[in-house]
């Protein structure tokens, strides 16, 4: 009995110095993103051009920034990230975020 224990201990010690690594298949399911965009001018343009890549959560959690900053962000999405945004929709997208942020500041409680 004692011998077996010693042999087992040696085997375990051997494993410790170079443990086998076993890679198995893995999969997860991510939760849905059911957040809704609040109503506002240009909502449709935002839904059509922005939500394929962006959770509403990210867009709506940004700090209040001037209109020019929203314009530059939309330009960056188009030029750098190659987002297929309809050029005609840019002013509406910017209108929407400026209006929603103004509402957030006016009504920080949300209700």
């Amino acid at each position: 009995m004692k011998h077996w224990a010693i042999i087992l201990a040696v085997l375990l010690a051997g494993c410790d110095s170079r443990p086998d690594v076993v890679f198995v298949n893995a999969a997860i399911t991510l939760p849905d993103d059911p957040a809704e965009l609040p109503p506002g001018p240009g909502l449709q343009a935002v839904v059509e051009n922005c939500t394929a890549c962006h959770s509403p959560s990210t867009m709506l959690q940004q700090p209040q920034v001037p209109r020019a900053k929203w314009e530059s962000m939309v330009s960056k999405m188009i030029e750098t990230y190659k987002a297929p945004v309809d050029e005609q929709a840019i002013p509406e997208i910017v209108d929407y975020f400026v209006a929603v942020q103004a509402a957030q500041v006016a009504n920080p409680g949300g209700a």
């Binding site: 893995a26 997860i28 059911p34 990210t58 709506l60 959690q61 990230y81 509402a103 957030q104 209700a111």
Partner: protein, 412 residues
């Protein structure tokens, strides 16, 4: 804790009720809507100046406990500050998560390959077993921190992921040395940098892939790993299963997840996420400045946090006070932590050293509370003599925050 997070039940129930009321009112704002639809179990106030400051909390991500939700897809999840009071190792189920592009949600282990190419003697395509057999298995305790951790506290505010201070964690990483994996291909003469790519790719053709590179001398360090283990478990998918790069002392942006390509470069890296973003000014700038010189964000500066008390907590007048928290040296060992405040500078006691690049516990006993402790904070100094500043130098992307984080404690 500067962000005012609290694990206490009162805070939780207040936010829950507010979220429910907001939902009943028609949901003008995003955060309450998110809470109502996704979660229903609470909101947390990150204390972001000027707001919006509340975020949903959820345990509904696979393998995760309660996390702060910044984005659902691709996932961006923050660790509540209360977690850091429990220990210097951050549990996998509470570790922050950040993906730039959509992440695959399944991995076929037998089919996965890591291509090693570029300026090498012989390009190779390695199986996971090839990687695991490339060299000795190494454990490193190291902090993984997003370059934008604390961005939400920038003043003036900047756009980007609006993190509180919980985009950090410390784990024991297990893997093989990157240099041993590189040796399978053989680094050619003239190697300057090593670049990594993972399985997360843009959804739109022509958009930049999230690829990152480090200088060759960093890549050849003994503690820079291709890791598969995180705190004794296989890397969770959300943290980059099957393999991720570990660069102790460097910001997380270089710790590429779901590693699929290693490329040796002979010159500068002109790819987008190195040449255009994740960069910091070389000299102080103001929000009005344009066209200034920048360099890639790289090593982490020292940071420290009070975790035993939240901002605004009540302390007992006339009684002793036990303060505690965590601290890090960044790219060098932690040397000291001091509690600082108006007319106050007290050295803190440091807990066990689990490695140069890990968190360390600090504690301080104040024999008797004689009044309010206003604007107190802890200040870490590392072995290179770098110490946390009293004022944060502003930068346009809110990177590398390490100002002394202040709280107020009220005696009564």
């Amino acid at each position: 804790m500067a962000d005012g997070n609290s694990a206490n039940g009162k805070t939780r129930s207040r936010f829950t009720r507010r979220a429910l009321l907001a939902g009943a009112g028609g949901g003008v704002l995003a955060a309450p809507v998110l809470a109502q639809r996704l979660i229903g179990d609470g909101m947390i106030d990150l204390g972001l100046p000027g707001g919006p400051s509340e975020r949903p909390l959820t345990p509904r991500f696979p393998g995760k406990g309660e996390m702060i939700v910044h984005r659902v897809r691709p996932p961006v999840l923050e660790t509540p500050m209360a977690v850091f009071d429990h220990g210097t190792i951050t549990p996998n189920d509470r570790f922050f998560v950040r993906w730039n592009w959509d992440m695959p949600t399944q991995i076929n282990a037998a089919a996965h390959r890591v291509a090693v190419g570029g300026a090498v003697r012989q390009p190779v395509s390695l199986t996971l077993d090839d990687v695991a057999n490339a060299g000795d298995h190494v454990d490193v305790v190291a902090i993984n921190q997003c370059a934008g951790n604390g961005r939400g506290f920038s003043q003036p505010r900047v756009t980007g992921g609006q993190w509180g201070n919980g985009a950090m964690g410390c784990a024991r990483w297990t893997g093989v040395r990157l240099k041993d994996v590189l040796a399978k291909a053989g680094v050619a003469d003239g190697a300057a940098r090593v670049r990594f790519a993972g399985l997360d790719v843009p959804m739109v053709d022509g958009a930049p892939q999230f690829i990152k590179s480090i200088p060759i001398d960093i890549a050849m360090r003994d503690d820079v790993l291709v890791a598969w283990g995180m705190n004794g478990e296989p890397l969770p998918l959300l943290h980059g299963y099957p393999l991720r790069i570990v660069v102790p002392g460097w910001f997380s942006t270089y710790w590429v997840k779901m590693l699929s390509t290693i490329e040796v470069l002979t010159g500068d890296d002109d790819s987008y996420y190195v040449a255009k973003t994740y960069r910091v000014p070389t000299a102080p700038v103001t929000p009005q400045d344009k066209g200034f010189e920048t360099v890639p964000v790289s090593v982490m500066p020292p940071r420290s946090f009070i975790t035993s008390h939240a901002d605004g907590a009540i302390i007992a007048l006339g009684q002793p006070l036990e303060l505690r928290g965590i601290a890090m040296g960044g790219d060098a060992a932690l040397a000291r932590v001091d509690l600082v405040g108006a007319g106050l500078e007290l050295p803190c006691k440091l807990g066990p050293d689990e490695g140069t690049y890990g968190f360390r516990r600090w504690t301080l006993r104040i024999p008797e509370v004689t009044g309010d402790l206003a604007q107190i904070g802890v200040r870490a100094t590392n072995a290179n003599g770098i110490t946390q500043p009293a004022e944060q130098a502003w930068n346009p992307s809110g990177y590398a925050r390490n100002v002394i984080e202040r709280i107020n404690l009220r005696a009564q």
